[in-house]
Symmetry: C2
Subunit: 571 residues, 2 copies
């Protein structure tokens, strides 16, 4: 149902983090100047830190499991949206106790892009940062392609093992290796009976026909990979158990930790009914069930459904699984809460956005760039609802809101300093990524920044300079996003636009003429994306969600290109 | 939404308990031969035990908070239905470690009746059993009538204090007194946005218009005591905080434990948004917020809404609040799980139902009684849906299902032995109470048993003997239920029936004639209850839920009386 406990959907995440910190200050505190939380007493000098994270909407994942013996920190994105690379960077930096930081998160393209960018930046600064991506969802890719699978509730087991390894003093190699071992033997499968509704929206992301259920759903409100007839609890138990046992990793022993996770509005009493059947079946099939967890551990707002996770245990994994932990939402065994030492270990993060502010007033081209950004913001605001609707058909419905948030931050950053078009765009792009988060945020921000960097501080860039900037930024976009034309991403509008623009410039057209002549090519790409979403919407993304980043990016790109064209000086 | 993870709604509770025990056997085990769970290692010789309970549908309340440092056991009723007196008795008996047992539960008429009957029986057997009823819901009765208030999420605080007092070795006087002190300073207020849906039903218990919210809702799916315009989170925070501060108990200090409890589908992220405002307001108003809890602690299946609870602390209450605990769903501080000793302290419960089986075959009158019960069961099965619908308008919609369950057990008990009508009815009534639970179960069962006891082992009771039995059983019913004619309970059909029956008998009518002549009086009472529910349904029960036991009992009574009449020997 509709999220009603809100003030303004735009400030939802910030207020949520504030409330979380107010409630659980005995476990966690805020990462200074970042959208993240860290355990009281973290980082400890000489101890590896484990940083988890991703979008919010999954509580107690991820912030609710930060504390002694588990994660040292969590970086927090907007609802179902990856945190930005800037935020991941700041949290990683804050958690470095000199022994390295392990980043661990579920396998989604937005998270992978943003965490990878942050890892690269931290490594550039000399930190030892490693990554273990959780890939437990057996429904999202077949055997043999395990690394393409999404991360769902198995996240918690992998994070627990990593946190316990770090707590017992393993070095960064050991912590990374333990987390990898845990991920390699963790398998999940989920089912859903109804989609969830995002803050500020009135309709759920998807609905399920009465008498049906979705099998293999994700935790971002994605529907399943197939629809099946609804079964009674014991039929569902059989489906879940058999699916996981068929996919048991090689060399799995006979003992497994078992988690039956509710997604939000499938409640505890039902989960226990289901668990009575799950437990019986596992025992019948020779599995020794170890310390089960039945509850809400990785949720998806008020989505109805559940998932079953097995982590196959060996001696060391069991020791790490059983080790004590004390966090706001997950505690095990005996562990006193630590006291804050007051000591600050890590250096303040370097601000990369500030470095691109040349100071002083906007130049003539800088003013054009600001105007283009402002017009783009206006166009995106007008189209926010349409973009959200298109995105809901293909994903989680947040594309419009994310674009408005990102472009709003870009405009603010542009206004907040002086300089040329190149300098304005370079800092606007960084602000975009920082505010929007997610795959779109990473890609749009990187694209705008790359244009700025290519334009540099040159005044009055002509059509050729703009073409070079568009061309090189498109190349870096492909490099980050791995998307090709036809993958139904922003590339589908941008690539034909850039080619058409290049042809016009080659034919001698001036900047604003060339821009106008290239727009129909972008329109064609955007229309084809919109059509595809409307007609094939759901089917088109199945099985691709973990690697691709399908969204109506081609449509929003068209709005941005049109608005930017209106800002260009008339010949 | 609909509960889909079920096998058969009738076995829902048993499968739920089985799954719970399978999942959390490291904390709890089954109370032998009873619908309840007890902490591993409980009872401890010489330690007071705390037994909590009530209907299910509120997880983690109540079974999820059984364990070291909190409750020693929980007796588990069907969804939103009090456990029967027999079940409470068995659990109390199992938990007696020789130092007494404190019973603590929320103030609902069904629970009060059943726990009180069990307490009386235990005291008869020489156990020291005390009761502290939780009355934290400020919306359900005004100041000055605090003892009439319902128990909602404040349950957890009172149970925690009682459990901690018992764990530190307080004697039964001390544990009782601590729990009373906790209850006296605990205040809650709730709001709801949508009702929940019971297993086996397709519609929620109530709905809330868009843009509205219910203020002062209960935890059994009851709607609120008033409907208000939906407010943004900060407006709701103000409403909740101000309501509780206006109702602060005399002598309340400045420090309070604070719990923001989600009812089921209002999710954690929203609760944190709300808590950021609640926390700010409490601080602004001078309240020192102590170790808040934000989460799902006392739920109502998938009801949408939340409640705010304050427990005003003094030094001792804070010590008890802060003491360690380790239970499936609530842990605090350091506490190792105990090992099972294998020692059994308490004596097996005495079975009161077995005592009424005279053995041998049914006599002629016994066969009539069995026939009457079987016909009543058939009539109730036919009417189950209608009774449920009527009950949903006034309460939680389980009256039809409870009556069928109770009468089914009564028929089985009747068939399971021999004897006269009196002996058959005496044991059938006990079985009814044991199976049905709730207020109706307690009342119907007591009524049937009382008729049986009055009839005794006499064969062929005549109209006068039946009138004496009806008259005395009506008196004991009033005694247990405290309901008067006009209170819209089963009494409204039964009382006029018994009076009319008495007049007919006084006029010389034979048994089946007198019965037939009296039925119209029962019909009138039943019709008036049904009308009242249909037309004023909701309003009629407001503020009375904690003491009364309004349900369509007059309607089911009519079905029972009609069916019984059909079984009577024709003159």
């Amino acid at each position: 149902m509709k999220r009603v406990l809100t003030n303004d959907p735009r400030s939802f995440k910030d207020e949520m983090v504030e409330g979380f910190l107010a409630a659980y200050g005995r476990y966690v505190r805020r990462v200074p100047d970042a959208s993240g939380v860290m355990a009281v007493g973290a980082p400890r000098r000489g101890k590896v830190s484990v940083l988890i994270g991703g979008g919010s909407g999954h509580y107690p994942a991820f912030a609710g499991t930060v504390g002694q013996g588990l994660a040292d920190g969590a970086v927090i994105g907007d609802i179902f949206t990856s945190p930005s690379a800037e935020q991941v960077y700041r949290c990683t930096k804050a958690l470095d106790g000199g022994a390295g930081v392990l980043l661990s998160y579920g396998n989604y393209s937005g998270d992978v892009m943003n965490f990878d960018m942050a890892q690269a930046r931290c490594r550039d600064e000399g930190m030892d940062v490693r990554t273990v991506i959780v890939t437990d969802d057996v429904a999202s890719a077949p055997r043999g392609r395990e690394e393409e699978r999404r991360g769902v509730a198995g996240d918690l087991y992998v994070f627990k093992v990593a946190g316990a390894a770090a707590a017992r003093g393993d070095d960064i190699d050991g912590v990374e290796e333990a987390a990898q071992r845990a991920n390699a033997v963790t398998r999940s499968i989920g089912i859903a009976f109804a989609g969830c509704t995002l803050p500020g929206q009135t309709e759920p992301l998807f609905t399920v026909e009465p008498g049906k259920m979705e099998v293999g759903m994700g935790v971002h409100g994605e529907p399943g990979i197939r629809t099946a007839d609804l079964l009674p609890a014991r039929g569902i138990a059989e489906l879940l158990v058999d699916t996981l046992l068929e996919d048991a990793p090689e060399g799995a022993g006979s003992r497994a930790a078992v988690m039956l996770n509710g997604l939000g509005s499938t409640k505890y009493e039902e989960l226990f009914v289901l668990f009575s059947d799950v437990n019986r079946l596992l025992r019948e099939r020779g599995v020794e069930v170890h310390e089960p967890l039945v509850g809400e551990l990785v949720t998806s707002l008020d989505m109805a459904g559940c998932s079953l996770t097995l982590m196959w245990l060996d001696g060391d994994l069991q020791e790490l699984h059983d080790a004590p932990a004390a966090t706001p939402a997950f505690s095990r065994g005996s562990l006193e809460l630590p006291q804050e030492t007051g000591e600050t270990i890590s250096a303040a993060p370097t601000s990369s956005a500030a470095a691109t502010d040349a100071g002083g007033d906007l130049s003539e081209s800088g003013a054009v760039a600001l105007d283009a950004l402002e017009r783009a913001l206006g166009a995106l605001q007008d189209a926010e609802h349409e973009l959200g609707r298109l995105d809901a058909a293909a994903g989680d419905g947040d594309h419009g809101a994310g674009m408005v948030r990102g472009m709003g931050a870009a405009v603010e950053a542009a206004r907040g300093g002086g300089g040329s078009a190149g300098q304005v765009l370079a800092r606007a792009g960084m602000a975009f990524s920082g505010a929007a988060g997610g795959a779109s945020g990473a890609l749009y921000g990187a694209w705008i920044s790359a244009i700025g960097q290519s334009l540099g501080d040159g005044e009055k860039p002509d059509a050729s300079a703009v073409h070079r900037a568009l061309d090189s930024s498109l190349a870096s976009l492909r490099d980050i996003g791995k998307a090709k034309p036809g993958d139904k991403t922003m590339i589908d509008a941008l690539d034909p636009f850039v080619r058409s623009f290049g042809e016009a410039v080659g034919g001698g057209a001036l900047l604003d003429d060339a821009w106008r002549q290239a727009l129909p090519a972008a329109e064609k790409g955007a229309d084809s994306t919109a059509d595809m979403i409307s007609t094939r919407g759901r089917a088109s993304k199945l099985g691709e969600r973990s690697r691709g980043h399908k969204d109506p990016g081609a449509v929003s790109m068209l709005y941005v290109l049109r608005a930017a064209g209106d800002a260009l000086p008339k010949k």
